[in-house]
Symmetry: C2
């Protein structure tokens, strides 16, 4: 088609609000990759909590808490194993590897921080908890630092 120059060249756009193509693509790409790790993060966080709270993490408990079928949970646990985050033997519950425990720790801290910031901004606690469950996976290290700073400065 040999790309018409009429509406696309340079920056003479009406509102001048579109970011550079590559910049925008990089941002969306980051978001997509965050989504692909979100599920792993939620699983390891939950498994760590169950292990700490109940002494064991069983597929059915995990499934019930996530609101999915046990079959779905079991398949995701396989993905955790493939990713080197968890171990599990048939009928014997799920455990975290060192790597899984390390991830769970980071994820738990981040979750807490996101909830605290939301509440500091005046978000009611149930909304803060619910929204944090999704937001946490998209908060970069840079943003995390700013959050910590903000909470500290604010007492």
């Amino acid at each position: 088609m040999a790309r018409s120059p009429s509406a696309s060249d340079a920056d003479h756009s009406a509102t001048a609000k579109l970011p550079a193509e590559g910049t925008q693509a990089r941002r969306f790409g980051k978001t997509r990759s965050a989504q692909s790790t979100a599920l792993l993060e939620d699983y390891v966080e939950l498994i760590a909590d169950l292990l700490a709270g109940e002494g064991e993490a069983r597929p059915t408990d995990i499934a019930r808490r996530l609101g999915v079928s046990h079959a779905t949970a079991i398949k995701s646990i396989s993905r955790l194993k493939r990713a080197g985050l968890a171990t599990a033997r048939p009928y014997r519950g799920v455990f975290l590897t060192d790597k899984g425990r390390a991830l769970a720790d980071r994820v738990r801290v981040r979750h807490r921080l996101v909830v605290d910031v939301l509440q500091a901004l005046g978000v009611p606690s149930e909304a803060a908890e619910a929204d944090a469950e999704g937001i946490e996976h998209h908060v970069s290290e840079t943003t995390l630092k700013a959050f910590a700073q903000f909470l500290k400065a604010r007492g």
Copy 2:
């Protein structure tokens, strides 16, 4: 297996940090459904921006800005059509329906607000823009109101 009572009954857990099963399941379910609309939201927002800035929204431009192949963009545009958010005729670009425009407006306002709050918290602008691209899809109406309130109160 008849569920052993030993470690699961009541609330006598060690750390007492786990939310009620149903509450937690509801939160995770909300997050999952937000993820399923995130892609639609990003597409309509981008299409609206392209229409405003360039006068047209073509599959290849959309694909380049999202950082995906044009084939992927075209398939997602089909999903937008199925959802009643967009129209498109072969080789003729993409347009938004009234519903699509309305969604784009809401999404743009929300995107802006999230970026502004992040920056107000001290997040550098590129990180704010990048993180907002993911965060925005998980911000509830309740949280949105709190954000607006916070920005107003703070000048």
